[in-house]
Amino acid sequence: MPWINACATDDIDEEDVIRFDHGDTSYALYHSPDGDFFCTAGFCTHEKVHLADGLVMDYLIECPKHNGQFDYRTGEARRAPVCVNLRTFPVKVEAGRVMVDLP
């Protein structure tokens, strides 16, 4: 699949997340505290809640509904009530744009 041009790097504050919709699927794009970018599925695996409304702390995203946490680099579920890992997608930065490899 071609890389999708998702947003500009400065569209996402450092240590923050935004929602990115593509086709009929929702994703979450992250800007880590040391300047890297990541992409995961947009909804929490516990219930259908947008992670982009949650809180980024270092490399964790905390879901706004029940405070479940994932490591957004690997998608690993890190705090109950989330038990199922999050899907992650490759990201690269090119000329100030965040590019995502989506299925």
Binding site: D16, L55, M57, E62, P64, H66, N67, R79, P81
Partner: protein, 374 residues
């Protein structure tokens, strides 16, 4: 007087109905807050909770020392009164905040205080974490929320007896015994995933060892004093938890998707706010569970234009609750629909249907019974 038209059972008739009409795991109303402001409100820190925890344990230590020193004289009573409220009411709010993981920034601190609070409250850390998760997903949705403390019509005797933590202790004692024996009821299994169950059994068994040690000490001393320190405070110190807990949702709407209709914010005195860890800002907490307790007063200022006015005191909240509970004896569909200020977004039917007090509540299967004569 009418009988209840509601089926509160977790696997019951109204549980299915609520699901059918889309009340379960649904989208809830949220007041709009700019992301930058929200991020500042959600920000975690250790400072406030470390300070409050030092105060809490300091007060508990001083009170229990006084109680033991003066035991069995009546002069020990005020010390036990203070110790009991800290043990069985302040620990309820610590269980709550640390269960959300938002009290401290540092994870192990949250987890450690959570375990201590669960032990004091005799609430299994696993089953109670998951039941509270459900309470946030399906707040006051009949047949889904396991934390509805008063059904309609209310069992008043039960509410009054529980001022002494009786049902809290009986319910949690029974669950603990079941878990020690390796048994988890089907209703509990509806909200505790398979992968978590073994932890629930393990913790119940660790507690069994602690309680047996306390019992052995009590027998050796020929005194109930060890139980005054561990266990019995649930009887003599729960009243504050019950007093504040009743204010959270009682008399308000069921089966709605807007926390402004089913939760209550009340201004209370600073001592009670310390004990209750700011959960008097209850609409705010339910709408934004990511905001830590210490930021709730600030959140309240940000959203109050979109909320029903907060009650000015505990007395004012009860002046609303008691008549509403009385009316629900005549009609269980009765509830208090609080009016919103002109600055608020109106209640929207897509979040709760055209729900009006006394009219059939969506998702309740038995409403024709509500007004039928017994």
């Amino acid at each position: 007087m009418s009988r209840s038209n509601r089926d509160y059972a977790l696997l019951g008739r109204d549980a299915k109905l609520a699901e059918e009409i889309g009340l379960v795991s649904a989208q809830w109303y949220h007041t709009e807050i700019p992301r930058s402001e929200m991020k500042a409100l959600m920000k975690r820190s250790d400072g406030p909770a470390i300070r409050d925890t030092i105060i809490l344990f300091g007060v508990m230590l001083a009170a229990v020392s006084g109680g033991i020193a003066l035991w069995p004289s009546w002069w020990s009573l005020p010390f036990w009164a203070v110790y009991g409220v800290m043990y069985a009411s302040a620990m309820d709010s610590r269980w709550h905040e640390c269960g959300h993981g938002s009290a401290f920034k540092t994870r192990w601190m949250n987890d450690a205080l959570y375990q201590v609070a669960c032990f004091c409250m005799l609430r299994n850390p696993v089953t109670w974490r998951w039941s509270h998760t459900r309470h946030h997903t399906d707040t006051i949705v009949v047949g889904h929320d396991p934390e509805i403390i008063a059904m309609r019509p209310a069992d008043v005797a039960r509410l009054l007896i529980n001022v002494f933590g009786v049902y809290e202790l009986i319910g949690n004692g029974r669950t603990t015994l079941q878990l020690i024996a390796g048994y988890m009821p089907e209703t509990v299994k509806t909200f505790v995933p398979e992968s978590e169950r073994s932890k629930a059994f393990l913790i119940a068994r660790i507690w069994a060892v602690i309680y047996l040690s306390v019992a052995a000490l009590a027998i050796w001393m020929g005194s109930i004093l060890p139980f005054m320190v561990i266990g019995l405070p649930i009887f003599y110190g729960s009243w504050h938890m019950v007093m504040t807990g009743v204010m959270q949702h009682l008399g308000l709407a069921e089966n709605v998707l807007d926390h402004r209709l089913n939760s209550r914010t009340v201004y209370i005195n600073p001592v009670s706010r310390f004990i209750y860890w700011n959960m008097n800002y209850h609409v705010e907490h339910h709408m934004f569970p990511m905001v830590p307790y210490h930021a709730l007063p600030k959140l309240h200022e940000v959203v109050k234009h979109d909320m029903p006015p907060a009650h000015g005191s505990i007395f004012s909240a009860y002046a609303e609750i008691i008549p509403a509970l009385r009316k629900q004896f005549q009609n269980p569909d009765w509830f208090v629909k609080r009016s919103l200020p002109g600055t608020a977004k109106p209640y929207r039917p897509e979040f709760h249907g055209d729900l009006e007090p006394g009219q059939p509540t969506p998702g309740i299967g038995g409403y024709p019974l509500a007004t039928a004569a017994e």
